[in-house]
Subunit: 644 residues, 2 copies
């Protein structure tokens, strides 16, 4: 159910879901309402006048009885119950120009795995499958061993020959086979058929074909995701996530590698991430009332360092020139051997990496997004702690890691923070007053600024003319919001009384510098990879954004600051957590599980720092949006419109 | 160096090794000298007169000065230093008849594995092999992962493609590869090539091709043998043995299976045998100054129950009708997963079993003796706690377990004991006086009678006419040696003063009954298997004896009592510990490792108790040597000669 909201005096109407917050609806409509407490309701600036319809509003002491009776409400404290007409009062009134900018990006919904399509194309074919067999009971005339009995049954009833067997299955074979009078369900591993025979990994009494589950895991440097899969039905049952417990040993891969070199360091890191997976997994299984014994296997995707640490493989040389991982391809490993609290029969299959800095998470994303079999020239971007990019199509794939650093995760930015409660995510700036409207995650008092918020803030400041193309604050603006701080010029986004910490939240020139370097590294990466294959930005037919970051990014703003190429917005797609999706696909498709190494091998890795031309491209990109404005026609247009 | 000994008054000359004990030399020559203390020197009965040559003799108070000066010596206290002439004094003088019987069997030397022949026939080809590679060092131009570097090196320098990798190797890959400047030696597993690709299991810095070892293990119900193999040279370096620590939970497989059903029973049994293997292995490695990390793999042969217990697989149904093992064929298992103190990369390969009572030890013996590829019709016999037999040739193999029980290991026999110090092993009976000459292991006072001793005693009593063909004592003999004991008639082999325990050592009719049942079960087994394939005893071209028991058995005596078929003695071969030899061969030959399951599958197992005709054969065999004397022409001849 949606409701129609008309904002006066603009006569701008938008449809929003029933029960939506009114300030959030304004943000989505591109309507500026002053707001500096992030939506907690304490600054009292976001007042609107309800002209018709019904709102459920919380009343604070910031509105007098008279105002309340007149219909004044705090937008951030109001939830929409019906179609409405609301008027922005003069103190928040803004000229039309800010209305020209509508949100892009937020509208991008992650594309889930299209299981129906997979099934209709015959791609739904899990490597692990169950087979029910009714065996003839043992007798004195036929007292072959239980294993031979099982083998004969699987051969006669399912045409399966030359089977291999997981040893631990044999330990329960005799008991299980007799439990339901020689009726059993065998779980078979058909993976890696080029290098080995199908393998019986588990055996259950009776017919359990309807209960067959797997887990897909994405081990991020920051967050670990676990997805529960129903292999019998080809359905994702749910997922869970938690911070990677390795976080307490360092925020990024480099500090983790450094820590791994200390005594017991590798062991501690390995145990931490395994503890996280165990915890999330148990929670998920409990929620779905499943027993770990019903899991047939586990697929994992992670960046190269996370993969090494998870498997307890020393990552030392990832960090040292010439940056070689120990192994980009890992054989199946018994889950228990890594400390996962799963039964003996569960093996882990891991997505291959390409190089030290283009890992299995990216290969998984390439698998999930299907670039490797797409005729369209595609740019795949995953911005996390680092920024990885892939360019190519069904015939070739080039990839690189850009040392974007963690700026877009809030790292190296004074008030940068992760996208949690209190992080400023939405920002607009009144071009006259230079006053901001901010919205925080969970609409509580601001605590800092998250990655997407930084992009939105940069774009807004740039568009309002507060920062110049070189990233410096204009010195001719007369506003208390811009001031000389401890470390140079800064813009005050939220004054102390409105913030959680009680100190001003600012964005400094040093912060802007860091963000410029990060976005410059990414953009120089796109151009360098394209140049190396003789192509240009305009040749790109598709841009796929991956990672949690991609979900919240405002495409227009990201283009405005020069982080993303200025292409038709229709070319942009959001794949969601490509790494997790790729891991899930491996569990759903034996062909993909067998093909993943081929795809990884197909991806030519470029060490950008060693690639001629990259440094020049990087320096040219240290500008807003870029020294070469011809790369950004729509931004040029937007800035011109802003100045008119 | 051998010496020639002439025994007067027989003028019988034999050659014996320098330093041999004189009583033992007499036994080997078939010369009877009274002796009832087993060789310890306390009964003083084995006096001889030295006529020429030199003996080193210990003098006890049992010889007077005069006797000593005349040249009287105690045979058991004398060791041969030169060629000799000795005279048996009248009190020990015996008529010629006992001389007609020469020892058979003892002369059978175990046939060791003929490694030279294996090598010349191209059969020496271990499944685990080392390859040295010199890899190009990593550089910025070539910074592929270490695993790819290794794979490329093995492909370019050794033509090895599509390799699999053991996960644990990857954990040390980066370190090892850099230790000797990218020179490494990889250990490859070429086993099971029909079902999977070669696998890199270990990696060592530098060139270690010269140091490559494996272990072969025979897990007997009583004894565990471990053999250390040098795979680089194709040499057996040595072996060690110890009692299977499971002995404290029961002597035979049935009591162990019963124990395994108790709480933690299976676990205790598994840990016991693993503890024994660890202990023997460490001792052996230490002796040869080897580190466990230099072992590439381990091969095991054992009977079906021992295999189940070693792998911690419930053996419950082996004991219950219809006697089904859980698995006759086991996949390779990581040694560490079973508790063996060996590094991660070591896998165990186990010889397949045929059925609950024809196990991998017998299959290993078939492999070691080569019956499965021999055109000669062969009978293979392994008498241990049970008796297993195989009949066949290169085209077919039939096998069965005979419930011979542990009689030949001393079980169920009042004074039966294992072949340790004090066990009577050699016996002859003076047909006139019915006085015995006995020799014990280590020549100490007798404590009991071991298996080969029982056979010799039975044959001697039978030949001396003390026991009748129905296994009963003759009641017309006037000698204090035969008397009515607590449980019926018995023969006193050693009187109390001459024994360790101070009680008489006897053989009773009940004991004889047990031995008759045991030998009858074996003989009925040969006939039943032969009958089932339409063949007769005379068709046998070869008889192979396996097991420690086979080494000490006196073939003539075993034939005399009807335990072995009465064939040309030249047809008898002794293979030694066939189980251990088979395990060793698997480590030496990839072809055998791959063929062992085929050989096991080729062996048709007969459940004798379910096979028509077996019971009749069994009852017919409860006679000395047999109710049908035509099966035993040479025994008939010998008995007739004895009576003349």
């Amino acid at each position: 159910m949606t409701k129609r909201i008309t904002f006066k005096p603009y006569d701008l109407t938008v449809e929003v879901p029933d029960g939506e917050n009114l300030l959030r609806a304004a943000v989505q409509a591109g309507v500026h309402i002053n707001a500096s407490c992030g939506g907690e309701g304490v600054c009292g600036k976001c007042r609107i006048l309800l002209e018709s319809g019904e709102l459920e509003s919380t009343r604070s002491g910031l509105l007098s009885d008279e105002e309340w009776d007149l219909g004044y409400r705090q937008a951030c404290q109001s939830w929409i119950l019906s179609d409405l007409v609301v008027r922005i009062p003069p103190e928040s009134l803004l000229d039309r120009k800010t209305l020209t900018r509508r949100r892009g990006g937020i509208g991008l919904k992650p594309s889930p795995i299209d299981l129906a399509a997979m099934k209709s194309e015959g791609l739904y074919n899990p490597a692990f499958q169950k087979r029910f067999v009714q065996l003839p009971p043992a007798s004195l005339e036929d007292n072959a061993c239980d294993l031979t009995r099982l083998e004969n049954g699987l051969e006669r009833q399912h045409g399966l020959e030359n089977l291999a067997h997981d040893f631990f299955m044999l330990r329960k074979l005799s008991r299980v086979i007799r439990q339901e009078n020689f009726q059993v369900t065998a779980t078979l591993d058909f993976a890696q058929r080029r290098s080995r025979n199908p393998r019986v990994v588990n055996l259950e009494p009776g017919d359990t074909r309807e209960r067959h589950y797997a887990l897909a895991v994405d081990i991020g440097t920051t967050t670990v995701w676990v997805q529960l899969l129903d292999l019998a039905r080809g359905v994702i049952l749910g997922n869970g996530a938690d911070y990677n417990a390795q976080m307490s040993y360092g925020d990024d891969v480099i500090t983790r590698i450094v820590f791994s070199q200390k005594e017991l360091g590798l062991q501690k890191l390995q145990r931490s991430v395994v503890a996280t997976i165990n915890q999330v997994m148990h929670r998920l299984l409990k929620k779905h009332k499943l027993d770990p014994s019903e899991i047939s296997h586990l697929t994992v995707a992670a960046n190269t360092t996370m993969t090494h640490l998870f498997y307890s493989i020393d990552p030392k040389f990832i960090r040292l020139t010439p940056y070689t991982p120990a192994a980009c391809h890992l054989p199946p490993v018994r889950a228990r051997d890594l400390g996962l609290e799963l039964p003996d029969h569960v093996f882990i299959y891991c997505v291959s990496s390409v190089s030290s800095y283009v890992g299995g998470d990216i290969v998984a994303g390439v698998l999930a997004s299907g670039i490797y079999k797409d005729p369209k020239l595609t740019l795949y971007i995953d911005i996390g702690t680092n920024g990885e990019i892939v360019i190519g199509n069904q015939h070739w794939l080039a990839c690189a890691a850009c040392s974007a650093g963690p700026a877009f995760e809030g790292g190296g930015i004074k008030f940068g923070m992760r996208a949690t409660a209190g992080a400023v995510e939405e920002v607009s700036i009144n071009p006259q007053t230079l006053e901001p409207m901010i919205l925080t995650i969970d609409m509580v008092k601001p605590k800092g600024i998250c990655g997407s918020g930084l992009i939105n803030l940069m774009a807004a400041l740039m568009e309002a003319g507060v920062i110049a193309p070189n990233g410096k604050f204009r010195d001719d603006l007369n506003t208390p919001r811009i001031r000389q701080g401890d470390s140079g010029w800064e813009y005050v986004l939220a004054p102390a009384p409105d913030t959680q910490s009680g100190e001003d939240i600012v964005l400094s020139e040093a912060d802007i510098d860091n963000l410029m370097r990060a976005k410059g590294a990414m953009f120089a990466g796109y151009l360098t990879l394209l140049e190396n294959v003789g192509l240009r930005l305009q040749d790109l037919e598709q841009v796929i954004l991956a990672g949690a970051f991609g979900q919240f990014i405002n495409i227009d703003n990201a283009i405005a600051i020069g982080l993303l190429p200025d292409l038709d917005r229709e070319k942009y797609l959001f794949v969601g957590n490509g790494s997790l999706q790729g891991a899930t696909l491996l569990a759903f498709s034996r062909d993909l599980l067998e093909e993943e190494r081929r795809v990884a091998d197909m991806m030519t890795s470029f060490e950008l720092s060693e690639t001629p031309g990259y440094m020049n491209q990087y320096i040219a990109a240290l500008f807003l949006p870029h020294t070469q404005m011809e790369y950004f026609p729509s931004v040029t247009e937007r800035l011109r419109a802003g100045r008119e």
